[in-house]
Assembly symmetry: D2
C-alpha cells in the first residue's frame, strides 16, 4: 500500500474513521517490461517510505475513490507513481490476477498494512514509456525477472509484498 | 447486491455515512450445478427484493466485513442465501473471474445499486448439497445453462445482473 | 480455424494423416481495439473462406508448428492474418482465456472443423497499428463491441466461432 | 509428462512418428487438498519413473486422445494416476491456469521432455477422496504448501516440473 496522503473525496479524519470500520478498496500494479512477443523481461519496483515506516521496494498502489472506476484508479495511480510518460497498457480484462488482503495483524494473511484492512485488486501492467518516479518515491528500479524472484529483493520489500511479485511472475509463466 | 439488513460491525447510520464516501467491498457468487466432469449444467438464482425495490432473480451477494477474509465472506453469504446444507465448493484460486462495479447512476457501467458505489468480486461456485433459500429470499430456482442465457431470464433480473450470469457462463465455456 | 495451406514442417500427406489420429494444437486470437484505459471498444473479424467452404467472418487462427513456442505461433499467425503493421500486444500471461475444442462432428462441442480434432488456445489481443488482411482473407472489418455480440454478426460466422467472440468479450467485462 | 505406455488410438510407431513432427497435446493436474473454505493446504506428488529415466516426484499427466474432450482426458488421467476413489473436482472453467511447453532441448523453456514437443494444459485439481497411486507410480505423497515450495522438493522433481508446482500455488494465492 502506498502512503497516500491525498485523501480523495474524504477528509483525513473521515478516512481514518472509515478505516477502523470497513475494508478499503485498493488497486495495485506490478509494472513490467515485456519483449516484442509480450513475455515479461523486467519488473519495476519503487523505493519509498511504506505505511510501516520502513524504506522499501514496493508496488504501484493506491485507493479506489468514491465514484471512480477500477480502470481509472489504476491509471491514476500508475501515473502518480511512474509519471505521465510511462504509457502503461492495462489488460483487456478487468479481472485482477489475484486479490491481496492486507490487515494490521501480520498473522492473518502475512500481508500487512498497519493503517487498515485493505482488499487490493492486483494487476500486471506492461509499461512502454519513460518512467519517472514521482510523488513520495525516492527511486524506481528495474530488476530482471530472476532478480525480482531472489531472496535479496524479497528482503528489501516489506509487508509481504514480495509475495505479490512472485505471484505476478508465476502468473506470467516465470518461476524459479 | 443483497438488501442486507445485517450491518456487520457498523451501525446503520455509520454504514449509510460510509456509503456516501467510499466504495464498499462486496462478494457475489453465481451458484452452479456441475456434472461429474465439472462442466456447468445449471445456474441457481434467488428470487428476492432487490435494493431498487423490484422483486427479481438475483445472485448470492453481500458485503465483506471489517477484518473478514474474502473466502470467509463468500462462505458466510453463500450460507446466508442458500442455507447451511448447500455445501458450496469455493475455487482454489481467490481471484474473482470478474469485477462488478455498481453505481447509483445507471449510465456509468450499467450495473446499478441505488445505495452505493460497490466493488464486487464475482465468483462461480459449484454447490453440491440441498439449497434452502433463507434470509430475505422468496425462492431459489435452477435454470439450465441455456435458459439462464435467455432474454426471458434476463428480463427477470434487475440492476444489470443478468450480464454477470452471462459472463459467468462464458467463463465456464458456455455461450449461445 | 484458418484454411492454412502452409503445412509448416509437414508435407500435406503427413499432416492429413496426423489429423486423423491426433488432436492438433492451434492458437486463435480475437483482435480488439482498446481505449486509453485498456477497455475494449471494437472487435476485428476477417472475412474469408473457412474449412467448411463458407465465406464467413472469422478469428485469427493457425497451427502451432513443431518446435514453435505458443507466443511465436500467435505472433506469426497475427502477422499472417493482419499484416506486418498491426502491432499486436500479446498479454503478459501465456494462459489462454479459454480452450476451444473443434471436432468434425458438430454434436460434440458445437465448434466444428471438418478437417480435424483441434485443441485451440484462444487469446484476446489488442492491436494498435494498421491492419491489412493478407493471406486468404478477403477483408478485415471492425465491429463495435455491441455489434460483435449481435445475432447479425453471429449469423455471418460459421463453425460456432461467434461463441468465442462472445466469450472473449465477456472475459473483458462486456456482455449484453 | 507421464511415461504413458498406453498409446491411445495410435500404434507405438505412429505415435513416435507424429512426435517428431507435431506438438502433442497434454493435460497436467496439480492435485491439492483444500480446507472447508477452498484454500489449498496440501499438494500431492507422484513418485515415478519419468521420461528422462529419473525417479522423480511428478504431476498427474497424460495425452489428450483423438476425439477426446479436455475434461475427459483430465478425468481419465487423474483416475489413471490417483485411482478410482480420488474424487477429483475439476474447475468449472476449462481454461488452464497456465500452459506448459515441453521440448527435448532444455534451453527452450526449461521444461524438458526428451520424447517430444508437448503443449500441456495445466490445472489445479482439488481431490477429496482416497488416492491410491496406480499405473507406473511407486508412491503418492502429500506435502504441505510450504514444503511443496521448498528447494528440497524441487530437487526431487525433474524436467522443470517444480516450477509448475510453484505457479500452481501462486495461482492459489500461496507464495513464500
Amino acid at each position: 500500500m502506498d502512503t497516500d496522503t491525498v485523501a480523495g473525496w474524504l477528509s483525513r479524519e473521515d478516512l481514518d474513521s472509515a478505516r477502523e470500520r470497513l475494508p478499503i478498496v485498493y488497486v495495485e500494479a506490478v509494472p513490467v517490461r515485456v519483449d516484442d512477443q509480450g513475455a515479461v523481461t523486467e519488473v519495476g519496483l519503487l523505493l519509498r517510505v511504506r505505511p510501516d515506516g520502513t524504506i522499501s521496494q514496493s508496488l504501484v498502489s493506491g485507493r479506489v475513490w468514491y465514484g471512480e472506476l477500477v480502470r481509472s484508479a489504476l491509471m491514476r495511480n500508475l501515473e502518480k507513481d511512474l509519471g505521465p510518460l510511462a504509457f502503461p497498457r492495462l489488460p483487456a480484462s478487468v479481472a485482477p490476477f489475484t486479490i491481496a488482503e492486507y490487515f494490521p495483524d501480520p498473522a492473518v494473511t502475512g500481508l500487512v498494512d498497519p493503517r487498515q484492512h485493505a482488499v487490493s485488486l492486483v494487476f500486471v501492467v506492461p509499461v512502454t514509456g519513460e518512467c519517472q518516479p514521482t510523488q513520495n518515491a525516492l527511486d524506481l528500479r528495474w530488476f530482471s525477472a530472476s532478480e525480482a524472484l531472489s531472496d535479496a529483493v524479497a528482503a528489501d520489500m516489506s509487508g509481504g509484498q514480495h509475495r505479490l511479485v512472485r505471484m505476478a511472475l508465476a502468473h506470467c509463466g516465470v518461476a524459479v
